[in-house]
Amino acid sequence: MSKRGIVLYLHAHQPYRVRKYSVFDTAVNHDYFDDPIYDSGQNNEQVFKKVADKSYRPMNAMLEKLLADHPEFKVSLSITGVFIEQAELWAPDVIESFKRIVSTGRVEIVAETYYHSLAYFYSMTEFEHQVEAHRIKIRELFGVETKVFRNTELSYNDSMAKWAENYGFKGILAEGWDPILQWRSPNFMYRPAGTKSISLLLKNYKLSDDIAFRFGDKNWPQWPLSSNTYNDWVNQSVTGKSIVDLFMDYETFGEHQWEDTGIFEFYESFISKWLSNPANTFYTVSGAIDAFEPVGEISMPDTVTWADNERDLTAWIGNSMQQEALRYIYAMEDDILRTEDIKLISDWRKLQTSDHFYYMCTKWFTDGDVHAYFSPYESPYDAFLYYINAVRDLRWRLHHDHHTGGLNG
């Protein structure tokens, strides 16, 4: 019988933020992602280098150490294509350290869309293109094949699972959300409803979010969390079960939770304590699928994500500005692709990254909780304004350079 284990999965991503791109730039400059002001907050190079220092470098160093110290330690990563592009430009040593940890054979790369987009919900052809582009990029860079899929923001539904099965993936990741699971535990392997061969791994959101969201929160009754306490929680949670799926942003380490919260020491110590019990181990996502048969079927007809209390896509597609922006960008698909203009197509795809729509979210503004608004922009309206000016410029380029499409205001 297989040992019980932690499935640690980290998601690394940085969008190409749109600079303060005004109507006076539209049809004149096409450099939406190149902010000339270094500390504007929309300068992608500055943000990437900052997060590389705070998170990617120290966390990769820690992962290398953990892999060296503990033969049983394993981790799964998803790294978006737009992350890799930016790392190649501004922090090539980060790519090198990812290559080193992947070469240990104990680090699995998870598949997703290259552009961290919501394409699944708007265009299947574009979605499949982006999944394929990501597989190719991972193959080229790391020499490995992706076998398990996760979609942007851990969005998931039954038909997506069927798609992933048909596409050849052996597993797919989703949120282990109570209203769906009801009496069932996320700490088992499941099978998506209506599929035959693919496995479903469910995030244990309580134990994941204890680290990802609450670790440094001094108002949290459990603060400061010790690695002993957390190790007890995880052991209790997994007793009589198979796995604990700890899924979180890679940037949890050093960026969401700063170094001075003690997150790195905490995690290193927790790994040792967990492995000090010989009944415990770690699995990659594929390793867990190989080790455990599904115990039952789970159905999620409606889309579930790992975001907010609602666990839905409202933070990306909830208001009319977001819906319009998405409609504009996907309406251009055929015209854009027909041009075979590589720069134009790439700019169009970079504008599909889900972060752009998240920045337009007004639900915190209308709730009065402005502090919950994480964005490089002053307001959702600014985010929409710059985005729409860039969309107009795409239309202008179609019209002017390729004599196709209309300008439509």
């Binding site: 005004s22 006076f24 819906q323 503004f365 009065g368 959702p380 309206y381 929409f384």
Partner: protein, 403 residues
Amino acid sequence: MLGWELPPHNSGGLGVACYHMSKALAIQGAKIDFVVPYRAEHPGINFMKIHSATDLTPLERYGLGAYDSSKVIDKPLSKADVNDLKDMRGVQKRYVKFVEKLVLSLKPDVIHAHDWLTMEAGMRAKELSNVPLIVHVHATEFDRSGNEQGNPIVHEIEYQGMMMADRIIAVSDITKNIIMQKYGIPADKIEVVHNAIDAASFDDGYEYNFNTYKYLEALRNEGHTIVATVTRFTVQKGLVNFIRAAARACEKYDKLAFLLAGDGEQRDELIKLSSDLGIADKVFFTGFIRGKKWRDAYSVADIFVMSSVSEPFGLTALEAAYHGNAIIITRQSGVGEVLNSVFRYDFWDEDTLADQIIGIATSDVLRESLQQNVKNEYDKISWYDVAKSCFHIYESMQQKVLS
């Protein structure tokens, strides 16, 4: 309470704020004696006693200019002629004398003085009666002059008033910072109490009259977006930048019209500027308006711009929000501290303002989002809460006196 104007005899936001604040205080049990420097009927004000310090008509008082402190002759009160009611300083001296007598007969628990106009009277009243003085700062001379200069005697009165006051109420953090930085008053003496809007008072059966701005309505029907501002045409309001931004916007998108409702010493300069920039036919000047025409100016507009160089609060932005406008305000406007669903820009940044105007004009969804979301915000701001904050301050003063 010492004030300079009350509706309908006001020429700006000071009178509106004093009216609503007093009304909310009275509802919560305050007994208010309100002093104004003129004699007139105030229909609808029965919740407090209004005292007239002079027999001037409101119109004569307008000539003195409650907001135009640059006209004030540089003379200390001791040299002012109490009989010269054509001179601001003469009227102020008369106002002080009136308050001196009143305070001895009324024996108030607290004196609440609004802006520099009444600060001398407030100080004198405190001296005579030993009653705590609260100075309420709606604007400083730095705001009114729009620069570092201003009238030295007004600066001096403000400085003395704030020094003498037991407590200072500022209408925004912006104003609090000016009081700290320019007048050297310690932070813990200043309380920020943001102004509010009385949505109920707008709910008076008003219906928009499409004929008031018939030409603008016609433009609107042809797809134009109407951009309005309702203000006094003074340097403080940043209207030169606004007109220049309007011209800049028209370079890229010309289905725009600009409604400048109000009047002031800059009017001719602004008319000339819009001609120089070639957009004279797109800029509409109304002159001073009130009542229905004033509300219709908000109603005809799609976008309201507050372009102020320095705006302690800016009630008009809340009024515009009530009438369904998308709001654009400068970062130098205090009202921005209570609104989130707005565009902001720095008053000199004409390109950003132009970009925001075009963005709203060319995107229905952006315009509607701004218009609808800001409504949820002003709904939460009430004069009731302003009065509650004032009461807290009054009570803390009295405890100090007793102990």
